[in-house]
Symmetry: C2
Subunit: 392 residues, 2 copies
């Protein structure tokens, strides 16, 4: 591989540890003889098209430490899908900057972008190593044990459920039903994480609803009623993307659906709809919490394992790129369950691009309203410390 | 005052540090010669009516430590308003338990309850010291500098705004407008707290809307447009109880309003409504975060000052009660601004009951859409450490 510049960008939804990967890349690239300069693109691939670049190799130690401890994508993000007419401009922009190593930190959509650029560069005979660095709180990337970003968002969701659960428990005479709406796009990994702090039957959460299972209003109401009758309050954690048997999003009004360029839909009313259902049909007061982007940005609930691994995938991406490897995504492989041990690996981007990994059947109980013991074994090593609360 | 039992309860919305006050009470009462036993009532004053009591003076150190670090009201809470027919039953229940010291940890509503019981006991010639212990994340109690519980919820709101703000900044090409809906009942103290981590003009939040000012849709849209035109993204923090000039709650559908026994209304749609407004009128994508009860329960964002002061008000309540003082609420008085020093005091409950303290005019800017420098001076000593993030 010839000596050249390394260009890095961040794309898609942000995480609390995505800048750890960025610093992993910067620090490793600075040590590499193959890399002349480390350059950042602003707002993902849009930065290449707009030619908004900035130097990343002049930061001092203090700046890098600050950067590591800043959530969200410090380079700016995007959800831009490359059009056919863009490739020429992308390649011209890369050539102009003498970029021979292109690293994009992102999820499925970013993998698609990397793949297309890698193909195009090869076709045009331009020497370019394209390496994708995994990042998503959704944990929905295939071919890896888990994704950087998931462990921290999972820690937030688990703790928030424990904490808001204590609130509902104390307020059961006032607002006995709590609906917590969490992210996760089309997969239920984050909903599942809500269960991680539960130690006994009375602890929250009591019910989980995953996008992997069709949502049935009557079954939901029946589930809520049963828990209420048994302990007097109910904490439900639900994905913002649950759908009914006809694949319609729960709480969606036609006017309320917005889709981005990759076709991902946003619905603002899932939890509101469920609260209304509970109040109307069960005559129980219900309120909802929707932590929204707070769940993926919370620095005080970061998982130390997640932080470390996010840095590791950044380091590995540079190592692979300067070896001349292209068209791959770095992965995380669990090599030991107890004590938990994880190492980095890699996979061809073809296997990742556009593929979503759902919560497998063996992590969801038969009724489709909670996780199994196997999920705890899988997920507990990935999250930070979960508190122990008292019940008098 | 004669020797007797001390009964303690918790009422109203929970906080992350309310159990600090409870432990302050238990530990101080155990040292007092006037107190025979420390008893807890379950679910506030309802516990007295239902005679659901439990012993609190047998806890070991480890249990008390766990209790301190558990958010929410460990004794259970309520929003029950005593009816005329209840007083007799309340007094009978207190006599039966040989209670001569009654301590209730709560806000305005609890103050009302304490006042009524103190009157009734005096009228019936039963020796009873009733002392109210302040608690509310809303910070809306008069006659005191601030309330225990506020500093921790304020820390959460400030940090969540900084963090979610970084998310919106990175995602400005996708979702440029973020609405964060926070609590605070009819006062804007928590909305104001969202500003505490802002260090420069570009930092979130950019706009705040308080229940103290009538909300005008056109002015709001104009404000949002201006910020967007200047920096390309907008983070708005808004109280869940904002009202228009006709005093109608924003986002309220008739069917969506529920009121509790004290007449407090809940509306589930404020942030949803504002997102719809922005998308329809400004053609900008808007999303919302509504941390809900998570904002008042988050143990990883506790303010150390708040934690300490919540314990102090509990201690002081016992000291005052065993001296025979009745019909008072403990207060917090700021005696020095720099370095911040605070001491406990007390005030007659008559001055608190049913009175709400709003954000004063000198803490709100002229346009009614942000706080003043004076608010920072007031609030910064009350919150925990606010992070410093980098902008590349």
């Amino acid at each position: 591989m010839e000596k050249g510049n390394l260009l890095v960008g961040q794309a898609g939804g942000c995480t609390a540890v995505i800048n750890q990967s960025l610093v992993g890349i910067i620090e490793t690239a600075k040590k590499s003889h193959a890399v002349e300069h480390v350059i950042g693109m602003r707002n993902g691939i849009l930065g290449v098209l707009r030619e908004t670049f900035f130097s990343l190799d002049t930061f001092d130690k203090k700046t890098l430490m600050l950067l590591k401890n800043t959530p969200s994508s410090a380079l700016g993000s995007c959800r831009y899908k490359l059009k056919n007419k863009d490739y020429k401009a992308v390649l011209a922009s890369l050539k102009k900057q003498n970029v021979h190593y292109l690293l994009l930190i992102g999820g499925n959509d970013t993998a698609q972008t990397c793949l297309q650029i890698a193909y195009y560069a090869r076709e045009k005979g331009y020497p370019l190593s394209v390496v994708a660095v995994p990042k998503t709180i959704d944990n929905d990337l295939p071919c890896m044990d888990h994704t950087p970003g998931y462990g921290s968002a999972a820690t937030f969701v688990a703790c928030a459920t424990q904490e808001a659960g204590k609130d509902t428990e104390a307020m059961k005479d006032v607002d006995p039903v709590k609906i917590i709406e969490v992210m996760g796009r089309n997969s239920g990994w984050l909903v599942a994480a809500a269960a991680l702090g539960k130690r006994c039957e009375e602890d929250a959460p009591h019910l989980l609803y995953f996008p992997e299972r069709p949502f049935d209003e009557n079954r939901f109401l029946d589930d809520v009623k049963k828990v209420y009758d048994r302990i007097g309050y109910v904490v439900v954690v639900v994905s913002e993307t649950i759908r009914d048997a006809q694949k319609s999003r729960i709480g969606a009004k036609k006017s309320g659906i917005i889709a981005d360029l990759f076709g991902h839909q946003y619905v603002e009313g899932t939890a509101v709809k469920l609260c209304q259902l509970v109040e109307k049909k069960l005559k129980l007061r219900a309120r909802f919490d929707k932590p929204g982007t707070i769940q993926r940005m919370s620095m005080n609930y970061i998982s130390p394992t997640d932080r470390r691994e996010a840095y590791m995938v950044g380091e590995e991406a540079v190592r692979l790129a300067v070896k001349g490897t292209s068209g791959i995504m770095v992965t995380l492989e669990r090599i030991l369950q107890k004590p938990y041990r994880c190492r980095v690996g890699s996979v061809k981007i073809e296997k990742i691009a556009g593929v979503e990994k759902y919560l497998p059947n063996y992590f969801i109980n038969r009724k489709g309203n909670f996780v199994t013991k196997a999920f705890y074994d899988y997920a507990l090593p990935l999250v930070g410390e979960l508190p122990t609360f008292i019940r008098l």
